[in-house]
Symmetry: C2
Subunit: 412 residues, 2 copies
Amino acid sequence: MGDDAPLFYQTPVELVRGDGVWLDDIGGKRYLDLYNNVPCVGHANKRVVAAMAEQAATLNVHSRYLHSGVLDYVERLVGLHHDGIEAAVLACSGTEGSEIALMMARAATGNNGIICTDATYHGNSALISRMSWLPVGTDRSGIRSISTPQLFRPLQEEATEAELLQLHLDQLRATIAGLEADGHGLAGIMLCSLLANEGLVQPPSGWFPQAVDIVHEAGGLVIADEVQAGFARSGQWWGYLTNDFVPDIVCMGKPMGNGIPLSGVAASHDLVTGFRQKHRYFNTFASSPIQAAAGMAVIDEITDRSLVTQVTDVGQFLLTALQTLQPDHPRVGDVRGRGMFLGVDWVHPGTTEPDVEGARAVVEALKERGMLLGQAGQHGNVLKIRPPLVFEQAHAEHFLEAFAETVADAHA
Amino acid sequence: MGDDAPLFYQTPVELVRGDGVWLDDIGGKRYLDLYNNVPCVGHANKRVVAAMAEQAATLNVHSRYLHSGVLDYVERLVGLHHDGIEAAVLACSGTEGSEIALMMARAATGNNGIICTDATYHGNSALISRMSWLPVGTDRSGIRSISTPQLFRPLQEEATEAELLQLHLDQLRATIAGLEADGHGLAGIMLCSLLANEGLVQPPSGWFPQAVDIVHEAGGLVIADEVQAGFARSGQWWGYLTNDFVPDIVCMGKPMGNGIPLSGVAASHDLVTGFRQKHRYFNTFASSPIQAAAGMAVIDEITDRSLVTQVTDVGQFLLTALQTLQPDHPRVGDVRGRGMFLGVDWVHPGTTEPDVEGARAVVEALKERGMLLGQAGQHGNVLKIRPPLVFEQAHAEHFLEAFAETVADAHA
C-alpha cells in the first residue's frame, strides 16, 4: 500500500473482530471503542449485516433501472429533515457528497465563490481539498476561508462574546464582498454543523443563524456538512438542529450505512433537479439496492433503539463527568461538545497553548488501558471522543475510570 | 431523487431479482443481461455474498488500523499485474481512482499537463469531468485531448492505416509540445485500454505502444483506465495486454467487488509512496475488510471458474456470429471488440453515418425480447454488448437468435 499510508498509534493496532462498542486485536486484547462513528449502530450490527446480505443475495444493480428499495430509502432519508429538504442524490463517499454539494450550489446561483472555515476538511478530491486548512486571505479558485469562530482561543483576546460575534460576522461580510468584487460572486458557504475538524469549538452565541442570514441575504446557499455531525451524533438527528440554523443543502456520509460506502446530498426538489440538469450526474455504485438496504437498517436501528435519547443522556453524563475533572487538572484546558461527540482540549498547564505531544501521549496511554480514541482540531491537540451511538452508561463509566487515571498520571 | 435522474429505456425497467446472467422485473418478466459489467461473476454471486456477509458480521473498520485481509487483498491484486506494479491505493469509485491517478502522475513529474482522447469519460468529479468529451484544441486547466484514433471513422478519409497511425502520433507529439510551450509540462496520458467510451474503436495497428513510447520519451506517465477494461473483460486479465502496452499507473473499478463500492490505483512502490507523501490521502470507506473480502472473492471466482478462458471463447463465438450478420445488413456498419466487450456500430445504410435513433430502437426492441444491452461511443450509436463474465455459450446462442430477428426487423 506504499510507505506513509496513514496509520494510528506508534505501534499500529491490528484488529480481527468487532462487536457493538468493542474491538479485538490479533493478540486477544479487547478495546472499548471511543473513536469510530462509521459503525454507528455498533460493530458487526446484526440487523444491518442481515439486511445487506439479504439484498446482495437478491439483487444489486445500478440506478439506471428502477428499484423500490432505493426510492423508499431516499424518501425516508429526506423525511428526517425539515420541509425544505425534498430530494437527494446518493454517492459513495463524503468527498463525492461534497463535490455534488458544491456543484449544486454553483449550478443554482451561477456563481463560483465558496466560503469555508480556515481549519476544516470536507474531502480529498482536487476540488474539495482546496477547502482543507485554507488560510484566511488565500484564494483557491474562488474558494476562500473565514477564521474559525470560537470562544476558547478567540480571534481577539480582550473581546467580549458579543464583540467576538460581530468580528466574525464582519469578516464573513468582507469575504463575501471580496468574492463579489473579484468576479466570483457567492455560491454559498459550507460548514460542518458541529465545527468538528475545527476542534468541536464553541462559536460565539448566535453565530450560526446570523452567519446563515448574511449568506442568504447575499444570495448564497448554505451547505451543512453532516458527514460527522449527522445521524443522532449530536443528540439530535442533525447537528444543524443543535446550532439553530436551517441549511439549503445537507451532505451526509460516514455513519449512513454502518460501513457500507454510502453518502448523500439532500436539498429542495429544485436544487436537486437543477444539479441533475446541469451535470447529468451518474454514479455506478451509488443509489444501489445494497446501499439502500444498509441505510434503511441504520435508520431503523437508530429509531427503534431510541438512540437519539440514549446519545443525549449518555453524552450529557460523559460531558459532565469530564468537566468535573477539569478544575484539578490544568492540562485539561477545555471540555466541550454535544451528544456523543466530545472534545478535551489538551494544553500546556495554565495556558490555552495546544499540547499536541501531550494529547498524543494520552491517546497512547489509553490504548494501553484498552480504550481507542483520537486527536482532532486546528492544532491536533483535542482528544476526540466519538464512540458508536450504542455506547451505554456502563461503557461511559468504564471509560471515565481509565481516563481519570490517565489524566492523573499526566499531571503527576 | 429529482427530475432527470438518469434512467434507461422509454419505460424504465423496475428490477426485483438477479441470478447469474438473469434479471427479473416486478412484472415477472425475465431478462438476459448483456449490459452489466459490475456483477462480473454474476448477479447475487453466492461466494461474493457469503464472503462479504461473513466479513461484515466479523469486522469492518477503516484503514488506520491494520487488517490482514486488506493487506492480503492488495498483494493479490498487485500480483495480477506486471512486475512494475508493486503497490496500490484503494478507493470507493472509479472517479476517486481517476483523481488519485492524476494526482499521482502530477506529484511524480511535478508537471500539470494531462492528455486524454476527445471522446472519453473517466469520472464525474470537478477535476475528472474536465476530461469528458473534451474537444481537440481546448485547454481545461492543463488537460488537453487528442483525436480518438480509429479506423472506422478515420481522421482523414483517404489515408492508409500507416498514414493514419502517423497522423495520430504527430498529433500526440504536437499536443505534448503545446503543453510544454504553455508551461504545463507533461504529467501523463490517461487512456481506457479498450477505448470503450470512445465506442470500442479499433486504432491503427501499433498506436498504443508507439503512443506510450512518445509519452515516456517526453517524461510523462501512462495511466491505463481499466475500470471497464480490466478483470478478464477483454479475454485477458487486463485490457492493456490486448493492446500491447505497459502502463505506469493502472486504475481499476466497476467489476472489482461485484457491486460493493471498490476501486483501486496500482503502480510502482515509488509512485504510490510519492503520492502518499504529497497528499496524505485517507478514504474513510476504502481499504476496508469488507471491500477486501468482496474483492478477494471476485478474484477467486474469476480464477477458479477459468473465466478468462470462457470470456475468450464465448466472446470469440459472439464476435464471429455478429460479423456473419454484417454483409446482409447494411445498418450494421461495423462489428468489433475483444473478449466479452463487443460493439455493433449502427449506421444509416451503406454509410458510416451514425444512426443513434436506430440504435435506440434496437435496444428497445431487444428489451421487449427480454435482452438488456446499451448504447455507447462518441456518437451514441454503438450497441454495447458487455454481459457478466459468467455468460455462457448457450446464453450467447439465445441472444444471437433474438438479435438476428431484431436486426432483420430493422432492415425489413
